[in-house]
């Protein structure tokens, strides 16, 4: 069973709807016990980085860290991906999970923020999450902060400079865009994650 982690930030229905469409057994849950038993974990997230503080308070952070330690595949979406990094300038006092090195930062003032709409990916063909996703594919973004390009980046996007659109290391995956809102190409990525 895929656990879609609910920590009170935003609307998880569309992620569930996409996984249902792919025929996956999944459940929206805020119960750390259920997250520990999951075969895969999806952490969506919208809004402010500070909202991820609820993960620590509720015991979900420990449950996720424990599952990741046991090799359970994990996918962070949007703020869920940013949380995989060490911290974000959006809320410096809220620690990220820190499984990826780096800090999320605001877009430069040279571009309109938030970055909302369909933008293109520059894809690393070795990515497992993005298998079958050609470079220049369009995906849907909506965010005001962005993660840096690092050694774990498997897709870049350019908006006021390049940033990490997708990251991948072992069984850890993160996407800044919304695969559940990115049409057929987004469903393909979610399908790839489900098949791991």
């Amino acid at each position: 069973m895929i656990a879609i982690v609910d920590y009170g930030a935003g609307n998880l229905v569309s992620v569930k709807k996409a996984l249902d469409w792919l025929g996956q057994e999944c459940a929206i849950t805020s119960d750390p016990g259920q997250v520990e038993k999951a075969t895969k974990i999806v952490l969506p997230g919208v809004g402010h980085f500070a909202s991820t503080a609820a993960l620590a308070r509720s015991g979900l952070r420990d449950a996720i860290a424990d599952a990741i330690g046991r090799g359970v595949p994990f996918l962070g979406i949007c703020v869920g991906m940013q949380w995989m990094f060490e911290r974000s300038r959006e809320s410096p006092e809220t620690p990220g999970l820190g499984v990826l090195r780096g800090e999320c930062e605001r877009f430069p003032t040279s571009v309109k923020s938030p970055h909302v709409g369909w933008n293109q990916l520059e894809v690393d063909p070795s990515s497992r999450l993005l298998r079958g996703v050609p470079s220049l594919s369009f995906v849907y973004f909506t965010h005001s902060f962005r993660a840096p390009v690092t050694g774990t980046t498997v897709a870049c996007c350019d908006y006021g400079g390049r940033f990490s659109a997708a990251v991948e290391r072992d069984h850890l995956f993160g996407v800044q865009f919304h695969p559940e809102k990115s049409g057929e190409i987004g469903l393909k990525m979610l399908g790839n994650f489900c098949e791991l």
Binding site: G47, S113, P114, V116, K181, G183
Partner: protein, 255 residues
């Protein structure tokens, strides 16, 4: 490159898609769920469903319509019409909407924007402004209740206040152009787009590809919405996007 969004709008009354000219003379144009899916397949970047009967009469079918349409939509889906409270918004989100659009209720109590944004994120809150040009030159007033009453608020000032309250996007409809097919109101769109930091969706008046190019170039719109030009086969979305793209405006194509 970040593309300009082409948004297909479904105006729904009593569970059926309708479209009027300048907010009146409604005609039946089909089933919302089927049309939403068809638009998505032919390249719409986003779907907006507006329940135009909502602000003045009760409807039980909206949530069911939203649920049916959302089930097979995997692009952003906005629902508006008659959303007055955080609870109304929550019900629409649970039915499968990604964003809600709020109009009259936000004008009556701007704090409702903040309440919904705090719970669901600013990206989920679209403030819709129905603007009508005033007698004196470059000024527009925001109207409420489907264009039936003026709020006596300046549309540009209201857009700025909505942004401050936590709106993530502005859906700006020119009442003067709505349903006419003579082109978007580029002056209105530019006045609002240049005054706020959040994306502005231009609406009202689309008749052909050149109108979209105009509103992106001269109106500084981030996205443009149309309804009637898609419904009756006047203009297939695929052809429209190709034509807009061929004039140098970045669009999502092929999708």
């Amino acid at each position: 490159m970040l593309t300009k969004r082409i948004i297909a709008c479904l105006d729904v009354d009593g569970g059926r898609v309708v479209k009027g000219v300048q907010f009146e003379n409604l005609r039946d144009a089909g089933d919302p769920a089927e049309l939403a899916k068809a638009h998505s397949t032919s390249g719409a970047d986003e779907i907006v469903l507006l329940d135009i009967s909502a602000a003045h009469e009760r409807r039980a079918t909206l949530l069911d319509t939203v649920r049916r349409a959302a089930r097979q939509l995997f692009i952003p889906f906005t629902v508006g019409g008659g959303i007055r409270t955080l609870e109304d918004a929550a019900a629409v989100f649970s039915a499968g909407a990604d964003k809600i659009s709020i109009n009259s209720a936000a004008l009556a109590d701007p704090a409702v924007i903040t309440r919904i944004a705090e719970r669901f994120g600013s990206q989920a809150v679209v403030v819709a402004i129905d603007a009508k040009r005033c007698e004196e030159a470059s000024r527009w007033e925001a109207y409420t209740h489907g264009g039936r009453a003026t709020s006596n608020r300046d549309a540009v000032e209201w857009a700025q206040e909505a942004e401050d309250c936590g709106a993530g996007e502005i859906l700006l409809t020119s009442m003067d152009r709505d349903g006419t097919g003579v082109g978007f109101d580029c002056d209105l769109t530019r006045a609002v787009a240049d005054s706020v930091g959040i994306p502005v969706i231009a609406s009202g008046g689309a008749g052909g590809a050149r109108h979209f190019v105009e509103v992106f170039r001269e109106g500084h719109a981030d996205a443009a919405l149309a309804a009637s030009i898609f419904h009756y086969g006047f203009s297939r979305l695929v052809d429209l996007k190709q034509e807009i793209g061929s004039q140098g405006v970045p669009v999502r194509w092929p999708c």
